[in-house]
């Protein structure tokens, strides 16, 4: 700790930061533009000028930039010094010279850093009489809108897009007062993090193009803390609602998880919530065809459900890795543990189970994203991280800079926050990142070594690396190519030398062997280095949570129906057609009675509608994440609560757990009356599953109050309360009550800062923009005051020795007549819900089958030509061929989860033949 003096008062700061950082961390207001806590200082905008004094006798002082002044012992600065104040005012004045008169029509207005800083410095009047320079705008894709006139040349966009997120299609053009930030020509921004430009840009140059279609000011959005459901990382988000529709997603800072950024899948994947196809009311299907669909009225639903349950000879429940813990738990409670199926395919649930046992039985800890970004050597085994867990990819991009940054800061004594100097010093130098994957990926360009192979070979490589790291690890026998051996040697060396090595793998290849190999590497590292970490990417947002509850895989459910052990199936937010092959799904749905809880019509519901059945089929409207509350467990093992943002139109949809609770109550099951509130469900679950005991602490209990008040979901300036519904009825109803959380559906309540899990928006007096997050952090860029949200449920076993996996697969042998078809993931398209968003649908690839060039040549398949892909005897697809030089021989890549590609259970051997053009 060092002592610094600000305006004559002494303060204790940790001495590692610059004065701007120090001032903001101490809660002071100092304007700035180019500095960003995640991207550090470049001293470009000259806005954070303060006066620095040599010692207490120095009355003259000199003007310095706070962001470029180290917080060294005895540093004396003055923020309030009149010259510094005037200097900052003048800086704003010239930044505003060319800023257009746009605020009323600018989407940044009301949450604009430039507005806040202008008000803070007191600039009110444009004195210059010269004309304003103008710029033409570019089309940057469906996510980001460009309005270049508003630019104040702070360079934050390029520093984020290129330097931080590794984008390569964005830059700065021209010179002096006409600098231009954009692409070399109109076109879609390539980076999957482009949406962050909206939050990074201090003014309205980059704004949310999706939000723009139905624009609403920040102060009019009803918001609640939430968790992204589009991948397993559990990024914290703030969804905003207006007029009964979800309007946008903003990042919610969580120092341990996503920090300042989220990916475009998370930011723009929300539109399914507003889909006109949404199931809005419960209905009963009897007989055949859609015309038999009978909407159930308020009082009829539970009795219909009760009739179904009581008329059942055997009930099975199919859970879902994308449904909340509460919903899965209550379904398990309703049908009994022996009849509960996790709803993941056999392969997937095997892989997730493997993942859970590796993390909870092994000695190595799974890192948070912040810790992952701090790793100094990374080995990615089999996982296409930028596509399956984009934010982990972003963390790895920071991790590769770690080693060179450490070298530069220690050798050249450049402070860590001096970003430009550090970048100049390290140039293109990268720390160790080794990637073994099926095919090329976006991280390959920054990797120290890349190895492409079939999943089994990747696993073998991993075992080989583990073998090189520890003599206790099992020996990987069999033949290895020379390049594989040298890759393994180099990777093992880099990991061994690292202080904080990280192994990344996941369910992407759906291969347990790969996971076991990754575990072996991490465990081998752990023997010498207790800082070793193992990050495993789960398939879906609550895969790990569901694995903690347990349940058989879905193929057992098919058998139960086929063998007549069950005649009633309850499907929870799941589509068996995504998890099973066609015949399996069909026979599951042939159960006499089916209850489906979902928010969107699935292939299964279509099937139920089309097919005749003897018994009743009930479809219940479930609530998607923004319309309900619940808890999810991320791939870090972090249980995080998401809160209901708004009630959807019609207000008949409810969280799945609420439907199941009502059903349990209706059936009068013993103990069900003690499962009424969310808190009660969670604590009952904690009693039944000790591993999930922490989940109840993921957020404060529903009776939590601050000064006796709830926390409002609406900002204090929320407008139109008395007019929104006036067109329907001039008499205003009471706002809905929320018994399940400490949040209220109104603007009344506690106005200060709630604890992190309840932070529904970032706002502080004078700080209307997203930069107000500074005021919510204990230290700028650090953790939230009072701790980040989420509770880690999975911690490693305190093992003395490790039990390595020894089941090493043999080398992959290509077959002559068949290909090994593996899933290839896409950030846009491979996740079912986000794929319904217009922008993501526009950017997702059209279906294809990827093959190695030489494989294709052998079978006379040509790039772009049509191929028939047959997986087993049931699934057949006609897909265009895409040649991919990185694909291993004998392996074909099949795009995972693209809409319309049902019934492909991967990986599997399949035949690929050319379709003759007729």
């Amino acid at each position: 700790m060092v002592t610094v003096y600000i305006d004559g008062k002494s303060y204790q700061v940790d001495g590692q930061q610059n004065m701007l950082d120090a001032c903001l961390s101490l809660g002071m207001d100092l304007p700035y533009f180019c500095w960003h806590p995640a991207m550090h200082s470049v001293g470009a905008c000259r806005q954070c000028a303060v006066k620095q004094f040599k010692d207490e006798n120095d009355k003259k002082g000199k003007i310095v930039m706070a962001c470029m002044t180290p917080a060294a012992e005895g540093t004396r600065i003055s923020i309030k010094d009149p010259e510094a104040v005037e200097f900052r005012g003048r800086v704003i004045e010239w930044l505003m010279l060319n800023h257009p008169h746009d605020c009323p029509v600018c989407d940044e207005g009301g949450e604009c850093h430039l507005q806040d800083m202008t008000v803070m410095t007191g600039h009110v009047y444009r004195r210059t009489r010269f004309k304003k320079r103008t710029h033409k705008n570019q089309y940057l894709g469906p996510f980001v809108n460009h309005e270049m006139n508003r630019c104040i040349q702070c360079y934050r966009c390029v520093r984020f897009y290129n330097d931080y997120a590794g984008g390569r299609d964005f830059g700065v053009f021209a010179a002096h007062d006409s600098v231009y930030f954009g692409r070399h020509e109109d076109g879609v921004l390539e980076s999957e993090f482009s949406g962050n430009l909206v939050e990074v840009c201090p003014t309205g140059v980059f704004t949310d193009r999706v939000f723009k279609k139905q624009y609403t000011r920040k102060w009019d959005l009803q918001t609640a803390p939430s968790i992204c459901v589009h991948c397993s990382l559990g990024c914290n988000i703030i969804p905003g609602e207006r007029y009964g529709a979800l309007r946008r997603i903003r990042n919610r800072y969580n120092g341990e998880v996503n920090g300042y950024f989220i990916c475009d899948r998370g930011r723009y994947g929300f539109e399914f919530v507003n889909s006109p196809m949404r199931i809005r009311e419960p209905y009963l299907l009897s007989g055949e065809g859609t015309d038999t669909r009978k909407t159930l009225k308020e009082g009829e639903v539970l009795s219909a459900l009760k009739a179904v349950i009581e008329g059942a000879k055997g009930i099975i429940g199919i859970g879902s890795p994308r449904a909340s813990l509460e919903a899965n738990y209550l379904l398990q409670k309703l049908v009994g543990p022996e009849n509960f199926y996790s709803g993941a395919s056999k392969t997937e649930s095997g892989v997730v189970g493997q993942m859970l046992s590796v993390l909870s039985d092994g000695p190595v800890r799974t890192p948070s994203l912040r810790e992952a970004a701090n790793a100094d050597a990374v080995f990615v085994l089999g996982e296409d991280v930028p596509n399956t867990a984009p934010m982990l990819g972003l963390a790895l991009r920071q991790a590769v800079r770690h080693r060179p940054v450490e070298r530069v800061t220690s050798e050249l004594k450049i402070p860590r926050w001096n970003d430009y100097a550090i970048r100049e010093a390290i140039q293109e130098e990268k720390g160790p990142l080794f990637i073994a994957s099926v095919t090329g990926g976006r991280l390959d360009s920054i990797a120290s070594g890349v190895f492409h192979a079939a999943p089994d070979d990747i696993a073998r490589l991993g075992f080989r690396v583990a073998q090189a790291l520890s003599p206790n690890a099992p020996v990987a026998g069999g033949h290895f190519e020379a390049d594989a051996l040298s890759f393994a040697e180099r990777a093992a060396k880099a990991l061994r030398e690292a202080k904080r090595p990280l192994v990344v793998s996941g369910a992407g290849t759906r291969s347990s062997a790969v996971l076991q190999a990754a575990a072996n590497i991490a465990w081998a590292l752990w023997e010498d280095n207790r800082n070793a970490a193992l990050s495993l990417v789960a398939p879906e947002c609550n895969s790990l949570g569901l694995a903690l509850i347990g349940g058989h895989d879905i193929s057992g459910a098919v058998r139960a129906v086929e063998e007549g052990r069950a005649d009633t199936v309850i499907i929870l937010e799941n589509d068996p057609f995504d998890r099973l092959d066609m015949p399996g799904a069909e026979s599951l749905l042939r159960a006499r009675q089916v209850i489906v809880l979902d928010y969107l019509p699935t292939h299964s519901i279509d099937r139920l509608q089309a097919a005749a059945a003897a018994g009743a089929r009930v479809v219940l409207p479930a609530a998607p994440f923004a319309e309900g509350s619940g808890t999810l467990v991320s791939s870090e093992g972090r249980a995080q609560r998401f809160y209901k943002v708004f009630s959807g139109p019609g207000e008949r949809s409810a969280e799945s757990w609420r439907w199941l609770r009502d059903l349990l109550l209706e059936l009068g099951r013993p103990g069900s009356e003690a499962l009424f509130s969310l808190d009660e469900v969670l604590s009952a679950m904690g009693r039944e599953f000790p591993a999930l005991g922490g989940a109840v602490k993921a957020g404060p209990p529903s009776d939590y109050r601050i000064k006796g008040m709830k926390i409002p979901r609406q900002p204090h300036r929320y407008s139109g309360r008395t007019a929104i519904r006036a067109a329907l009825d001039v008499h205003e109803p009471k706002p809905p009550e929320d018994a399940d959380s400490p949040l209220s559906f109104s603007m009344e309540g506690y106005e200060g800062q709630p604890p992190a899990p309840l932070t529904a928006r970032f706002w502080a007096p004078g700080w209307n923009s997203v930069q107000s997050v500074n005021k919510f952090q204990g230290h700028v860029g650090g953790h939230m005051k009072g701790g980040d949200s989420g509770i880690r449920l999975i911690e490693p076993a305190k093992a003395k020795e490790t039990h390595y996996f020894t089941d090493i697969p043999g080398p992959f042998v290509p077959r002559d007549d068949e290909f090994f078809v593996v899933p290839l993931h896409h950030v846009f398209g491979s996740e079912r819900l986000s794929a319904m968003s217009s922008g993501i649908a526009e950017l997702m690839p059209s279906p294809y089958i990827a093959l190695n060039d030489s494989d294709a040549e052998l079978r006379s398949l040509t790039d772009g030509g049509e191929a028939r892909v047959e997986l087993g005897s049931f699934a057949s697809f006609r897909l265009p061929i895409r040649l991919d030089a990185f694909m291993p021989r004998g392996v074909a890549g099949f795009p995972f989860g693209l809409p319309g590609l049902h019934g492909a259970v991967l990986p599997a051997w399949g035949k690929i033949t050319a379709v003759k053009q007729t």
Binding site: V105, G109, K132, T134, T216, Y243, Y718, A727, V730
Partner: protein
């Protein structure tokens, strides 16, 4: 002191007498429906939405009136035409809540929302006091003539490309080499 207090009693009696004499004074009441009062031009009465001199809607749906409204009786939704000109998709004022404070007019950056001299808007049914955009929009410029927001804003709209606004230079040629 005591004497003064006793004398004070007579001031009470005097008060009573003076007030009693008011029985014969002229009444100041304006008997409204028969007798029309004078309404000053800056009277804060029924709210309207005006048009700019070109005849297009002045409102750019910036939400500032709604934010300024102390009784939250204004609600609207922004939308855009194909050229990027923003306007309200709907604009609703619940006059049964309005207190005619005029904050919305003060907040309006485009002179779109204006308060007029009309105050005779009683209804038997409260529902009829909910005014939609078509009820609010007038065909003229209202109190402020000549102002056209899009002429001074940097945004391009139909008929005004980048750099064609008042006090604007033509767009920068990013690929030019001239200093």
């Amino acid at each position: 002191m005591k004497g003064k207090k006793l004398l004070g009693m007579f001031s009470i009696l005097k008060t009573l007498w003076v007030v009693f004499l008011h029985l014969f004074k002229r009444k100041v009441t304006v008997l409204y429906p028969e007798e029309k009062p004078y309404i000053p031009p800056r009277w804060r009465g029924r709210i309207i939405l005006s048009r700019d001199p070109d005849g297009a809607e002045r409102c750019v749906a910036c939400y500032l009136c709604a934010a300024a409204c102390p009784v939250d009786c204004i609600s609207l939704q922004a939308t855009e035409d194909e050229y990027g000109r923003r306007y309200p998709e709907f604009f609703r004022i619940n006059f049964s809540r309005c207190i005619f404070c005029g904050y919305c007019e003060e907040a309006c950056p485009t002179y779109a929302i204006q308060l007029t001299t009309d105050f005779e808007m009683s209804e038997y049914n409260r529902q009829n006091l909910v005014y939609e955009k078509e009820d609010l929009l007038i065909s003229g410029t209202g109190k402020y003539h000549g102002y056209n927001f899009y002429k001074v804003a940097g945004l391009s709209i139909k008929g005004k490309e980048k750099g064609e606004g008042e006090n604007e230079l033509p767009p920068v040629d990013v690929k030019g080499l001239m200093p």
